[in-house]
Symmetry: C4
């Protein structure tokens, strides 16, 4: 392994370990049930959480380096039991640099009812460009979850999918963008839940949703920084 690749992997191990702290900060995960991964750009490799390890105990050192079939290529820890799904997404969607999985409460309740989250909030239009869609029910252990994610999100504006009776998967150009999508998915799922609990939202015009999405993807954030979703 050359020096540049080693450095790249070291940085991603550090960043993926640290990003799990956002999942706990926003209360998106209980016990060990949620994970973040990042593609190693330009290589058929990814860095992902080890299986069943406490969030408090995560560090750059115990992140697992896998190939894009989900097989560990370094170290002794088993990768997350969701590794096959992450790997499938990286194989099928070359523009994706990060994947996140959670069972965040409000979003998962929509997933359990098999309902997509309709767009009635400017914050949802900004980040998701419209509804957050439902993906199929799929068993863990093969490529079914990965296929369900990819078939739902391909050609869709939303970086988040609600996998039926299961939970949330989000994608992004970077792991940080995917984590942001997971945080915002739960935030809008919660607001949408509360809205509906006492009545019906006022509809938003499709043209307004389009205008908000376009602006947010192109204007928000610092010009000198990576793009909005990073």
């Amino acid at each position: 392994m050359n020096v540049e690749l080693s450095r790249q992997i070291s940085e991603l191990r550090e960043s993926v370990a640290r990003l799990h702290g956002e999942l706990t900060r926003y209360g998106l995960v209980a016990w060990t049930a949620g994970n973040v991964s990042a593609r190693v750009p330009g290589h058929d490799l990814m860095v992902i959480k080890p299986s069943g390890v406490d969030y408090d105990d995560l560090s750059a050192d115990n992140m697992v380096l896998c190939d894009l079939d989900g097989m560990p290529v370094e170290g002794e820890l088993s990768p997350s039991s969701d590794t096959a799904a992450h790997a499938y997404v990286y194989r099928a969607m070359p523009e994706v640099g990060g994947v996140v999985h959670t069972h965040s409460t409000y979003a998962t309740a929509w997933a359990a009812r098999g309902e997509s989250i309709p767009c009635h909030l400017t914050a949802q239009a900004d980040e998701f460009g419209g509804e957050i869609p439902v993906g199929p029910f799929a068993l863990i252990g093969g490529d079914d979850i990965g296929k369900g994610i990819v078939s739902t999100l391909t050609g869709h504006r939303s970086p988040a999918v609600l996998m039926r009776n299961h939970g949330v998967f989000t994608i992004g150009r970077t792991a940080r963008a995917a984590v942001k999508a997971a945080v915002m998915c739960e935030d809008v799922a919660r607001t949408a839940h509360l809205t509906r609990a006492l009545g019906q939202p006022v509809p938003m015009a499709q043209a307004d949703i389009d205008a908000l999405y376009d602006r947010y993807q192109n204007v928000y954030g610092q010009r000198s920084s990576p793009p909005a979703n990073s």
Copy 2:
């Protein structure tokens, strides 16, 4: 820039940066979606959060100094994407010294339904003097949000407006007062939601609401301190 103005701006940078900590402490914001600003008293200037920067990374140094058209006058960071709305409020309402924007969950659910929050709590009578009103739907990017805030709050007791399908804007004589209004707005929105979820509140007499509002604005807090809303 003279010494006195420099000192004033330094203090406001410090205070505005720190006040964002109240937004996270009370769970009013997710990721970077909320902002605080303060007018520089006696000058056509304001201090506001930079766009898309994490709350953990805010400091006096990265706050952005803008004129009251929302144009940065110092530094290299872009100001919050909501700067135009803040600036419009300062231009139109000279008594306002601070503005806050959040998408706090319960308040935003009322906003998504286009429903004002009726006053059935002494705490709401104290701080808001009655209902918390709904403002119009408005797209970001021009003066529409600012106009909606100003037209709704002018002549209204409430320092908070629920912008339809969007979120909350609050005003105050100081940034701290506007932050307090944002905290109390979510608090009463949550209690009002839960009240309605299982039935109907007992109505309060208008005379009682008036008496509570009058007393709170004039008596609460320390005599030697700034007025109640500060």
Copy 3:
């Protein structure tokens, strides 16, 4: 003031300041809207939170010593705007050593509907001995709130009253016991809310409620410690 009384007051200042930390820890209060007081045993004196001061800034030094008419007898800070209600309780109920006031969310929602919380949980039977009652609506500024608390709680097992359209007052033999009652009041109000949100609770037999209450008041906790409620 003799040495023994000075020592007693110092300890109560310390303990009352610190007990406010339990109100924030359990999320019972927003901004400065909640307060704890303690009677100085054997004297017509009480120690209470200053008005409008942040919870982060409370210390033994800024607690306010008042007589039982609610008038400050030391220092320059104004006491809590709820001091008259606390003082009335101490004058009317000699067995009470501590009083707490909050607007905790779920309990206040029951108060806004004017509904007492029926007893369907062993934890409520333990601490409250049955339902948590509703008190009258009363304006701040005289003895009306104090009278409402005392008339509702006199001869009642519950150490908590839901003041209509307002919030919670709790009493205890010590300030710590009153804080515990405030914490448990919100806890059972929340569980009772969620229970009712999806259906009806299974009724509990009065004899079971009585047995639980009797046991908890007499057996729970450490024998060598103060009684259960302390």
Copy 4:
């Protein structure tokens, strides 16, 4: 007492004290109302929380060592008032190494309605293998609670039981496994509540639940670590 047993007990005191921190971290307990115990493997002994002691004040030293009739065999503190229930479980279920009791809010609301939590989530299938059952109402003070736990959980996949009008008891091969079950029980109770609040969940096939349960019990986590539930 021999050296090996002393060491074993010391480690369990440390671990049981520390595991209470997970109950507070996940908000499963208010004030002192929840407890963890561990069996001393190979001996008729258990380690359990002292009664009425604050979670902040727990340490290895104040944990109480009891025999399996629930009688303290060391030290001066009284054990948890729920000790009899823990002890009954250890006597009746030799495979159980840890027991946890909480009144966690959402799970207790299901218990107050006397409703088991049906399985509509992959996370529930993983950990509980199907529904989380309701146990009988039982008064504290004898063996009734213990009998209710054992009769409900014997031969059941679920490590958690919702004791009617009371709260949650969970079991595990270790205290840590029982704590995990308590955390996941509240997590699925909350998601199931929110799911039902706005409609009905999509049913899951029994074969899918069986496949998920089987896989999670046998594959999840690190091969070199204790089994999944540890």
